[in-house]
């Protein structure tokens, strides 16, 4: 396509007058108190998220007894991740703010527990294997380029595992799409706004870690959309379903 040599907006960007973005030019100061304070909450969210994922996969095993072994295997991986992230906090000399994280996850946890009590496998899978996994994958992707070297290595290992978990939920729902469609759409309506609120709630602390909300939302939606595409929804259906995360 044509050049834009004389387009002032792009010309100014091309000459580097706009910041190149945190990832490109500078890592945060991992030792400063402001960073550590924000990290205490973000790290706690990650630890709590992995703990909840463990518990949720174990609980799903009670609804899907023929898959209990596989779900227990996934659950064990989450515990391993949790230990890795706990080590990240120790490495920076930070104490994770667990009460904050437990409160942070409570709306999603409550919805999961309600669905579990009602034996709603589809809703449980949407909450854990799609929403929470996509949330984790996007956060880890955005975090990796701005992480301290120790955490970076651990997070790179974790993100590979999380894709297999997303894949688990995706495959199950794909195989059962027609029976699950209505419940999936309802569960999406009920829970996606919670994810958006969680993203909004963590945006300030994430920015201190050089993770930007706009990046987090788009990355989350890419992972979530990919999963929904794989399950068998059309582009328009997905756009409708995903809108709740965009609207804020």
């Amino acid at each position: 396509m044509p050049t834009i040599e004389s387009n002032p907006a792009v010309a100014s960007l091309a000459t580097g007058s706009e910041p190149m973005g945190h990832a490109a030019d500078a890592l945060p100061d991992f030792t400063c108190p402001v960073y550590k304070d924000a990290y205490s909450r973000i790290n706690a969210i990650v630890i709590e998220g992995e703990q909840e994922a463990h518990d949720n996969y174990m609980a799903l095993g009670t609804l899907l007894p023929d898959q209990a072994d596989e779900l227990a295997r996934l659950a064990r991986m989450e515990l391993k991740h949790m230990k890795g992230f706990t080590a990240c906090a120790n490495n920076l000399g930070v104490v994770a703010d667990m009460p904050f994280a437990q409160e942070f996850f409570s709306p999603l946890r409550n919805n999961f527990q309600t669905a579990l009590g009602e034996g709603k496998v589809v809703t449980c899978l949407l909450i854990q294997a799609l929403l929470i996994e996509a949330f984790a994958i996007s956060a880890y992707h955005i975090y990796i380029p701005v992480a301290d070297p120790f955490a970076r290595k651990i997070t790179e290992g974790v993100v590979k595992d999380e894709y297999t978990h997303l894949n688990y939920g995706q495959e199950w729902l794909k195989a059962n799409l027609e029976a699950s469609r209505a419940e999936l759409e309802q569960a999406n309506r009920d829970n996606l706004p919670l994810v958006r609120r969680m993203l909004d709630g963590v945006a300030g602390d994430a920015a201190v870690l050089h993770m930007e909300k706009e990046d987090l939302i788009e990355d989350f939606l890419i992972a979530y959309q990919e999963a929904l595409t794989e399950i068998g929804f059309s582009s328009r259906e997905i756009a409708k379903m995903a809108a709740a995360a965009l609207m804020g």
Partner: protein, 350 residues
């Protein structure tokens, strides 16, 4: 499969397109929402060449709009995410349309090859600039004589001469078209001097100096909103090929005897069942498209799965010959002057 990565020409147009395609939530969203919106694969099409070959393709909207140009990180993310989506859909050759290739080039996104779990394979992408340059040259060669401009005696100004397309146009005009004189216009002096040295011809002028002397003006730089053209000082007749993006020259150079053609646009021989070009302000959206998009189709028709147009100033005449021949073979025509200006057509009607 071929792919096209495009975007709307403005945020207002993007919302209209979303509404038309049934993406109501996007149509109602504000610019911040669009900044976080992931790319969308909007359409799949099948196209059959006059040779009988049928290819399949997909159109991806990056959800970028020009209003995001001042947001470096957003623009970069839009382009890279759209490219990742193309690759994940296993599209062999994808054209980077509109601002996409410009952002890629100007922000040096070559160093951003890893997108999440995907390593972008540059061989799967083309800027489409070789075909665009060839089409623009053809538009000069076909339409100047219709206006009574004898190219052998004509001065041709290329505005944006040092860019990827501009420099290719200069090479072709010098070697293949046999024009009287080439007038070279660009913002930066040093690349102009280097281009002049490479060509072994051409006069370096400012825009104000070049315009009154030129019988033909090829614009391959976008025009700043504030630019005004003194149409009274232009040659008569004057042929202008508007190869910039967005195409807004017709409003700036409207005058008797000044003829503006949308540059780098081609028309396919039959309707393509797509909705995408309607928002690109094409007169015949079912057939007309940017030449850069057509390049992806041509490469797919020809089974050339490589980044045919890539980087800066790599377009040579051999590549232009190859893509030009393919363009003719598969039924594409460069957009020309309106029919009322074509004596042959008028005679036929009479």
């Amino acid at each position: 499969m071929f792919g096209l990565i495009g975007h709307s020409t403005s945020f207002a147009d993007a919302r209209l397109l979303a509404k038309r395609l049934g993406y109501d939530e996007y149509a109602e969203g504000d610019l911040d929402m669009w900044c976080s919106a992931p790319p969308q694969l909007l359409e799949r099409v099948r196209v059959t060449s006059p040779t009988g070959t049928t290819i399949e393709g997909a159109y991806i909207d990056s959800c970028f709009v020009p209003e995001m140009l001042s947001r470096f990180k957003t623009a970069r993310r839009k382009v890279l995410n759209a490219m990742e989506l193309a690759q994940k859909n296993d599209i062999q050759i994808t054209a980077l349309g509109g601002f996409t290739s410009i952002i890629f080039e100007n922000f040096n996104l070559l160093k951003e090859q890893q997108i999440r779990s995907t390593t972008l394979d540059w061989q799967r992408f083309t800027t489409g600039n070789t075909h665009t340059a060839w089409v623009i040259c053809r538009q000069v060669e076909q339409n100047a004589p219709r206006l009574g401009i004898d190219l052998a005696k004509a001065r041709v100004a290329v505005v944006g001469a040092t860019g990827d397309i501009g420099s290719a146009v200069c090479r072709w005009l010098k070697e293949r078209t046999g024009i009287a004189e080439l007038l070279l216009v660009a913002r930066q002096a040093q690349p102009l001097i280097e281009l002049q040295s490479e060509l072994g011809c051409g006069r370096i002028l400012s825009l104000e100096e070049a315009l009154p002397q030129a019988d033909v003006v090829v614009w391959v730089a976008s025009l700043p909103q504030t630019l005004s053209i003194d149409t009274a000082s232009l040659q008569r007749p004057c042929l202008m090929i508007d190869g910039g993006y967005p195409k807004n020259l017709d409003s700036k150079a409207a005058a008797e005897g000044v003829h503006v053609i949308k540059g780098g646009i081609v028309e396919f021989g039959s309707d393509i069942g797509w909705q995408m070009m309607a928002v690109a302000d094409m007169a015949k959206p079912q057939r007309q498209m940017f030449a850069c998009f057509a390049e992806a189709m041509l490469l797919e028709f020809e089974g050339i799965h490589s980044n045919f147009s890539w980087g800066r100033n790599n377009i040579n005449l051999a590549k232009m010959d190859l893509i030009g021949a393919a363009s003719l073979r598969h039924g594409f025509q460069a957009l020309g002057l309106e029919t009322e200006l074509q004596p042959a057509t008028n005679l036929a009607v009479a």
